[in-house]
Amino acid sequence: MLILECPCCGVTGEETEFHGGGEAHLKRFGPGSADTDFENYLFMRENPKGVHLERWRHVNGCGKWFHVARCTVTLEIFGSYSAQTLEPPQEIKDAISAKRPGWSWRDFS
């Protein structure tokens, strides 16, 4: 059972307070988009063995969504950050790089 920190209300809580929401930083493709773009957006998900960026909701707390950088192998948490961003902030990238040199996730590293 993971321990996560909600960056919106500052609470550090048990996993039972939170609800996972899958991959973070999805780029939405709406009407008029090409089939392949839409397919990638709707169905294709990162499934890394290692660094992952994902959405979580503080569902039994402040109710807000946020993002977590996490290692899917060791369950190490590199940090949590606001969901209102198109890519992880520099300090999160640095925290990951410090422990997983040469990591990449989509185009982020």
Binding site: M1, E14, F29, G30, D35, K64, E76
Partner: protein, 1001 residues
């Protein structure tokens, strides 16, 4: 025979006799006994029969690793199967029966399996039961059900009479295991000021040191005293570390009253612990040796034999032969001799024999045979003799030695379970022939740092002095990792044991032939032999995980505590590879079985799951409500009057509502307030309809889809004012839809100024339905205008309705003139009562969810969850009118443009009218011509809602049918499971008042 010795027994109080029952027989023991020691004291060596062959089995161990001595315990509400005799403390009135035999322990029919053993090899279940198919149902299954299974399953009607609880705890350092290593580690950690919890599964502190010697006289008592005096230390006995999980989560299983059922309070307590650091000082478990007849009652682990002598004053036999591959077992020979019993021979498989302890044994006059082995044990229900041979040979018998017990030791395996649960890795220690924790690869916490360390024997430090130093280091390391300044404790100065090294012996003798291997047991509880593992390897099961499942090695309730290492050594040997190459199977929690009731804790009966109640709940209850669970809510399905059936009640409620006036408690509907300058724009994206054009004071029915295009929720949206909307969701959908809205607002359109609040429980809501609904509301008075023109269809107004602060929506789910009145939840019951009183002259009738469902179906309205199942798009349901064509975008729009969604080949919604007026069964499919690839009839549609309509006095249904709307008037077949074919005509889905005149008055 096994018997109580005249002296000794540190744990028992000979002045306090205890009476208990075993298979109906009255037996006596002492306070402090375990069930196992008390049975041995009564010469009851045979304690059960094995799972597959029903062979007689005696107790092998003295602790939680025991595979054989399992019992049915207690009666009625206290009954529990598979209770281990070695960890069951004796109490007055304890009553147990032995398991896995019929008709009796002494005479058992199932033992025939034993003689048919060569027909029951590894993988038997997979091989034999495949063919012929009917044999499974008529021969194999009844046979297996009769003869298999360990304990009896508790009666399903009987409730557990005890109570259980959960307990939350946080500590900097948690130590699992209260032997000398655990106590020392806890003390060193606690000296730093860290908050420490130490638990021990046994009722006593000190572990093996109490039998094999403390570091110094009174060491354990002194340490326990010191720890008890520290405010930052919590100590618990009879508590097992059951499992280690992510980020320092640990389960502790405390058995509070198993030993004293007369006490008050919960029986088990499940500790849900968050630990900064965990130290596992869980000791080591002795391994059996694999020789023929090693399962005959009287063959025991060497360590267990001296435990019974020292702890309980019980001798397992008068003549105890000892067989070993290491020095430790000599302690048993010495203890047996000192207790005044005979040790006819010590069989040491090592050609060079043992060290200091061997010299001591010889000095006491005990015969020691080096380089020898046991070829075979003779005896049935009790050991009679051992036949000796050379370990290096194939088992040619050199001599027979009479004895009534055998103490065996194949070396010790560190208990690495808790280390491994969350990913700690192991390393094979060649010198000690054991897997021990690999310090460099511990389980990691949220910061990427190790959070578990092992101490003492659990870490592979089997020597007492080395173990103590290891524990001190672990305590210091854990405290520092938890953020405290720590220093080591002063330890007693101990010389290292002068022992000669162990020599691994995986089979005895080394060249044992097939006959011997077929009687050499690895897994006692599941009856797996050396020959089974070898057969599995020959048949291609090379992975240890496959071999485990094929042979069932290690799959019994003891999870292979005694058998796993021996089994994988045999597998490695057969495959011709080194043991680390084979590896271990996965260690999974719990360490030993924990009660299901402890997992449930307090969550049973009334508080299993909290029920959500509307403000009118008590009224429904007092007025015959026949409840239906909807999400966590309880809603009246209907209200029963007198002797009527639910079906009759539903029909009565519908007739009364359509004729005059019905009341529906609609408080459970989800109510989300969406507010802000961009609220309209946001709802345009969420709903398929255009919501931004809705005028304040107006209502609109809306559909919500997932990004996949599928219909996910529906409800009426009300524009309260320029920048606030009230979105009704389905009952039970409020939380889900709220989360959906928040996700889009926070992860996609976070620059839009919108705020969402879930106000579901803040409002009570009543559906006032029927031709007299306006009259009853007017009777209540107030300042709201609800006249035909004042509040037109799909209009909204707010104000005083009588005394109430009301929001009134003129909407019609039943197709009648009707209103939904919402008031603050605190006024809900009063409003209901006022409507009840005012409605008396109109014959007001409360109606439930079923009447609501039938009335909406009569009107052809869809229901989320009936007409939708996560694969249905609004276009399938003919809801094109609710999909805006002006909008460029909404959630699900792009998905609905996909070719398959646009296809005219889809199943679409129609009404279905049976030719004879009967009701089509729920879930029925419409069949088409021909068969599919699996030889099943092709289908062309299915029923989604089907009811008896009291209004039309006939069966009505809705269904999704292939190209349905183009096939009006066609009759299709719905076969029922009873063989009846229901013939139904495809018709329009609106059965009642298609022009909508009723709701527009």
């Amino acid at each position: 025979m096994s018997t109580r010795l005249a002296n000794g027994g540190r744990r028992i109080d000979r002045t306090r006799p205890v009476e208990f029952r075993f298979n109906g027989k009255r037996l006596k023991g002492f306070e402090g006994d375990t069930l196992a020691s008390a049975l041995l004291a009564n010469d009851q060596m045979m304690m059960g029969r094995s799972f597959k062959y029903h062979r007689p089995r005696g107790v092998v161990a003295s602790g939680s690793e025991e595979p054989n001595a399992l019992f049915n315990m207690g009666e009625g509400g206290k009954f529990e199967p598979n209770q281990r005799a070695t960890t069951t403390e004796l109490f007055d009135g304890l009553s147990v029966t032995s398991q896995n035999h019929w008709p009796s322990l002494e005479f058992d029919v199932g033992v025939l399996n034993n003689y048919a053993a060569r027909f029951l090899p590894a993988g038997f279940y997979y091989k034999t039961f495949m063919f012929p198919r009917p044999a499974w149902k008529h021969v194999f299954e009844p046979f297996i059900r009769q003869s298999a299974g360990l304990g009896r399953a508790p009666d399903k009607e009987t409730l557990d009479a005890d109570t259980y609880e959960h307990f939350y705890f946080f500590a900097d350092v948690v130590v699992v295991g209260g032997g000398v290593a655990g106590l020392q580690a806890a003390k060193t950690a606690a000296l730093s000021g860290a908050k420490v919890l130490i638990m021990e599964q046994d009722p006593h502190w000190g572990g093996r040191a109490m039998v094999d010697g403390e570091p110094e006289e009174g060491f354990v008592q002194r340490l326990v005293g010191e720890l008890e005096g520290m405010d930052n230390v919590t100590m618990r006995r009879r508590m097992m570390g059951a499992g280690v999980y992510d980020h320092g989560y640990l389960l502790g299983y405390e058995r509070l009253r198993d030993h004293a059922p007369m006490l008050a309070g919960p029986r088990h307590r499940l500790w849900r612990i968050r630990a900064g650091q965990i130290i596992t000082a869980t000791g080591a478990i002795e391994r059996p040796l694999s020789f023929a007849g090693n399962d005959i009652p009287g063959v025991m682990l060497a360590g267990a034999v001296r435990d019974y002598i020292a702890e309980y004053g019980v001798s397992p036999g008068d003549r105890v032969a000892v067989v070993t591959n290491n020095d430790d077992a000599y302690r048993t020979a010495i203890a047996v001799k000192k207790a005044g019993l005979e040790v006819p021979v010590i069989v040491d498989a090592r050609a060079g024999g043992g060290g200091e302890l061997a010299r001591e044994a010889r000095g006491m006059g005990i015969r020691v045979e080096n380089g020898k082995a046991i070829a075979k044990v003779t005896g049935g229900k009790r050991v009679k003799s051992v036949k000796l041979c050379a370990q290096a040979g194939e088992g040619a018998v050199l001599e027979e030695v009479a004895c009534d017990a055998v103490a065996m030791s194949g070396g010790w395996s560190p208990v690495v379970h808790l280390w491994s649960h969350c990913g700690g890795k192991l390393v094979w220690d060649e010198a000690e022939a054991m897997f021990r924790p690999d310090e460099s690869r511990p389980p990691l916490n949220q910061n990427g740092a190790g959070f578990v360390r092992c101490a003492g024997a659990a870490n592979g430090a089997l020597d007492l002095g080395a173990g103590l130093a290891d524990a001190d280091a672990a305590g210091k390391g854990a405290a520092e990792a938890a953020g405290f300044k720590a220093r080591g404790d002063t330890l007693p100065d101990l010389a290292q044991d002068d022992a000669l090294p162990i020599e691994p012996v995986w089979m005895m003798p080394q060249g044992a032939g097939p006959k011997l291997r077929m009687k050499a047991w690895l897994d006692y509880q599941n009856d797996v032999k050396v020959s089974d593992v070898q057969l599995a390897a020959r048949e291609g099961y090379e992975s240890v995980e496959h071999t485990k499942r094929y042979t069932t090695l290690g799959m019994a309730t003891d999870q292979g505590k005694l058998s796993n290492i021996n089994g994988l050594a045999i597998l490695s040997d057969t495959l011709g590879q080194a043991i680390p190459q084979t590896g271990t199977t996965t260690f999974r929690p719990p360490y030993t079985p924990i009660s299901m009731a402890s997992i449930a804790g307090e969550a049973r009966g009334e508080i299993f799951q909290p029920v959500r109640r509307t403000p009118m709940h008590a009224w429904h209850e007092a007025n015959g409500a026949h409840w239906e669970p909807v999400g966590h809510w309880r809603r009246p399905y209907c209200y029963l009057k007198g002797e009527e059936t639910p079906h009759e009640a539903v029909s009565r409620e519908i007739r009364a509502t359509r004729a005059s006036l019905g009341l529906l408690d609609a408080s459970t509907l989800g109510k989300l307030i969406v507010k802000g300058p961009d609220a309209g724009k946001f709802l345009d994206m969420l709903y398929t309809n255009m919501m931004s054009t809705l005028k304040p004071g107006r209502c609109r029915y809306g559909l919500m889809c997932s990004e996949n295009g599928f219909l996910s929720d529906d409800g009426v949206v009300v524009r309260l004012d320029e920048d606030s909307f009230l979105c009704h969701t389905t009952t039970g959908g409020a939380e889900r839809i709220h989360g959906h809205m928040e996700e889009w607002l926070q992860t996609e359109w976070w620059d839009w100024q919108v705020h969402v609040v879930n106000a579901t429980e803040q409002w009570a809501q009543v559906g006032v339905v029927g031709p007299n609904s306006r009259k009853v509301l007017e009777k209540l008075g107030g300042d709201v205008d609800i006249s035909k023109d004042g509040l037109s269809f799909m209009g909204y107004t707010s104000g005083k309705l009588g005394e109430f602060d009301a929001r009134i929506f003129r909407i019609a789910f039943a197709g009648e003139l009707s209103y939904e009145v919402a008031v603050p939840a605190s006024q809900g019951r009063a409003l209901w009562d006022a409507l009840w009183d005012a409605g008396e002259e109109f014959g007001v009738t409360p109606y439930g969810t079923e009447a609501m469902h039938v009335m909406r179906a009569e009107k052809g309205f869809i229901m989320i969850g009936d007409e939708t199942d996560g694969t249905v798009i609004p276009q399938d349901l003919g809801l094109h009118w609710a999909i805006s064509k002006k909008k460029e975008d909404y959630i699900g729009k792009r998905a609905q443009e996909r070719t398959f969604m646009q296809s005219s080949d889809r199943w679409q919604l129609v009404g279905l009218e049976t030719v004879d007026g009967s009701v089509i069964p729920d879930g029925a499919y419409a069949v088409a011509e021909g068969e599919n690839a699996n030889g099943q009839r092709n289908v062309q549609g299915r029923v989604t809602s089907t009811y008896y309509s009291p209004t039309l006095d006939r069966g009505i249904a809705m269904g999704l049918v292939h190209k349905g709307p183009e096939r009006m008037g066609e009759v299709i077949d719905f076969p029922g499971t009873d063989g009846t074919i229901y013939k139904a005509k495809i018709v329009d889905a609106v059965f009642y008042d298609p022009e909508g005149e009723k709701q527009n008055v």
